[in-house]
């Protein structure tokens, strides 16, 4: 089975505000506000206008951040994408 490609919600649908280590993200489509901890805001950012798989996300994050390499990193990114999908902030392409 090919890896899932993820698409982020259109930026104009969301209003974001950094709150110290959290990001408050208001979704105009659902009327909900989500408080996101790392690495969810960063995952949304790297998917912005550039759909990608969990591997793409890991690669893009590693360009901008130091991430502790581990066998479970891809699994963790995949978990985070599932969590963002449950919030409606990313969808499968």
């Amino acid at each position: 089975m090919p890896p899932t490609t993820w698409v982020a919600a259109a930026p104009d649908r969301l209003a974001s505000q950094q709150l110290d280590v959290l990001s408050a993200v208001f979704d105009r489509a659902s009327g909900q506000t989500h408080l996101l901890a790392e690495p969810l805001p960063q995952i949304l950012a790297v998917l912005n206008n550039a759909p990608g798989t969990s591997l793409d996300v890991a690669n893009r994050l590693s360009i901008s951040f130091d991430i502790e390499e581990s066998d479970s990193l891809a699994q963790r990114i995949s978990e985070c994408l599932d969590e963002l999908a449950a919030l409606g902030l990313v969808v499968k392409a």
């Binding site: 950094q18 990001s23 659902s30 909900q32 790392e38 960063q42 951040f65 502790e68 963790r76």
Partner: protein, 152 residues
Amino acid sequence: MIDDSQRDGVPPGGEQGETAATPRRDAGAAGHSAARRTVLMVGAAGVAAAVTIRPAFAQTAASVFNCEIPVPDPANSGRYIALNGTLVPAGTRGAFPGAARAFKGEEVRQALQGRSLPGTSYEQGQAYLNYIRRLRAGQSGFTCYASIQMPR
């Protein structure tokens, strides 16, 4: 990996107090960026990284079955709905006239999961769903749509 050029560089716009949560999307793009890299905390497996604040109207679960979404809203009755969900002048080629009746929240919820909207062709249903996805606060049907969107 952090190379020396990155370690020694001054981050562009890297004012004090910027948190590790701020993405540095330009950092390291060419392998010699001046941006200092930050450590991203990915968290432990199985630990939720999000909390959702639901508006009060989300508490009325029964409303999903009974609430209604007119397509289009009464203020725009007479306009057609293009396949991408935008409102266009009546008679526009490839667009559809508004639905004869408002859809129930439950009908829309099921349509979002792949069922067809009652009384619509496939493309017509997609146009209506795209219209519904574009609803914003203040438009008729938005509260109903928002209720459907609540994570369970």
